[in-house]
């Protein structure tokens, strides 16, 4: 029987862990699933255990030498000097025990999500452990080792001959996925992120549009620091709708980093829960409109693991399962269970209350700048449209 959606999870996914003080913390997965359970929004048969990606699958994107280095690093057998050449053992992406297995497992989770959707066993699939968009062919970066989205896109191309639209709403530029398909006209990428002027990785300029045959199949919308909900959503809705109409994909892969929220400690945007409810809503609508429902969603960043990520990521699942119980108070038993583990006050409701931050003095200027950025980013599509009869 065809399911509306499946949720990829097993406790082994929590082994993707650098160290206790590192901001990337997969406890988020546990907190999210527990919130969905407390909300009675997920059944045990909706949960699918991830499989581990094979070396062959990883090498759809990654250099065999790099895969080997990750394996050696996880066994403590890679010198620091060699590790550095592969972006491993840095402050951002430290070496940890069995890092290959932990990383290959989350890639396998995303591949499984692809298989469920492409074989019609589920309309939508969610792997919140994935979305590690800074991983490169031969290099780890920005908390990411293997790039599950890049591997998945290649996999979708080879196994299912699918044209993939990749939408990345993480606050950081989706550089790894962009560069992996920069010259490929059968993959279209859109990244909406905080401008690289001040934020890692520094790329994602509007003028990065692809090259060769892939020219005009890469889109970037770098929004200003302190961008708020309305301006962000305007950029998202406008660009997603115009790009999907232009590209007409077979399947949509969305990366759902939850680090654009005002509370996020690593970034400087001023979004609230509102955008996280709207992001999956539009993806869902467009997946049904253009792709027969085929929609795979992965996680990504998100460093306020208590106040932001569980709610933001639950919204994706609620949307996938057409569950409209997405406002009002959060389940008391969830709050009770986890409040003892953190010093921050857990949110009481699905939405943020009004006024969680002081008014942004440059709001008007920021809104105007972002609107211009959207126009410039979409210029090739609009110019093409007005030129055709």
């Amino acid at each position: 029987m065809k399911k509306d959606a499946i949720f990829i999870y097993s406790d082994e996914l929590l082994t993707y862990k650098f160290h206790d003080h590192h901001p990337f913390n997969q406890k988020r997965l546990e907190l999210t699933l527990d919130l969905l359970r407390a909300h009675e929004a997920i059944a045990e048969e909706d949960i699918i255990k991830p499989r581990i990606a094979t070396d062959e699958e990883l090498q759809l994107i990654h250099d065999p030498k790099y895969v080997n280095a990750v394996k050696l690093a996880g066994l403590g057998k890679l010198s620091l000097e060699k590790a550095e050449n592969f972006g491993l053992g840095t402050e951002d992406t430290p070496i940890f025990k069995h890092m290959h297995e932990a990383s290959a497992l989350l890639v396998g989770g995303t591949l499984q999500a692809c298989d469920y959707v492409m074989t019609g066993q589920a309309k939508h699939a969610l792997n919140l452990s994935g979305g590690l968009h800074h991983g490169f062919r031969g290099k780890a970066a920005g908390f990411c080792i293997y790039n599950d989205s890049s591997v998945a896109i290649k996999y979708l191309q080879q196994k299912y001959h699918a044209r993939v639209l990749y939408i990345d709403t993480d606050a950081h530029h989706g550089d790894g996925v962009q560069w992996a398909f920069y010259d490929d006209p059968d993959v279209c990428t859109l990244s909406i992120h905080e401008t690289g002027r001040y934020l890692f990785p520094g790329t994602g300029n509007i003028h990065e549009r692809g090259q060769g045959n892939g020219y005009c199949f890469t889109f970037n919308i770098p929004v200003d620091a302190f961008t708020e909900d309305d301006s962000w959503l305007d950029a998202y809705r406008t660009s997603f709708k115009e790009i999907i109409e232009y590209f007409r994909p077979d399947v949509i892969l969305t990366q759902n980093g939850a680090d654009s929220h005002y509370y996020d400690p690593l970034t400087h945007l001023s979004a609230t829960m509102r955008i996280f409810k709207e992001i999956p809503k539009l993806a869902h609508e467009l997946a049904h409109q253009y792709c027969g429902g085929r929609w795979i969603a992965v996680g990504g960043g998100g460093y306020d693991i208590w106040r932001v990520v569980p709610r933001a990521w639950s919204f994706i699942w609620l949307e996938m399962t057409d569950n409209n119980k997405n406002s009002g108070p959060l389940p008391q038993n969830w709050i009770k269970r986890w409040q003892t583990e953190t010093s921050v006050t857990l949110p009481a409701t699905w939405e943020d209350p009004e006024g969680i931050y002081k008014p942004i003095p440059r709001r008007e200027e920021i809104t105007e700048t972002n609107a211009q950025t959207v126009s410039k980013a979409l210029y090739p599509i609009r110019a093409n449209k007005s030129a055709s009869p």
Binding site: F24, E91, D92, H172, Y198, L199, H268
Partner: protein, 80 residues
Amino acid sequence: MIAQIKKQDIINLTKILIILWPDLLLSHIRLPRSRFEGKDLNNVGVLYEVLAIFGKVIRFYGPLQKGANHEKRCHIHLFR
């Protein structure tokens, strides 16, 4: 944008930059360290110098690391 930045903001910012990135900051400035550590921050020439290096420091350090180490994260809250 520059016109809207208050002088006091730059002074505060400079103090923060000195604490966070002393070596990096000093390697980018031509003025002696002492001028940044006290009263000379009220000097307009010094302020321009700080503004110029502010851009460089951000470009140089901000985007290179994502910031697993909190001290090295680049924040721009004074420009809200």
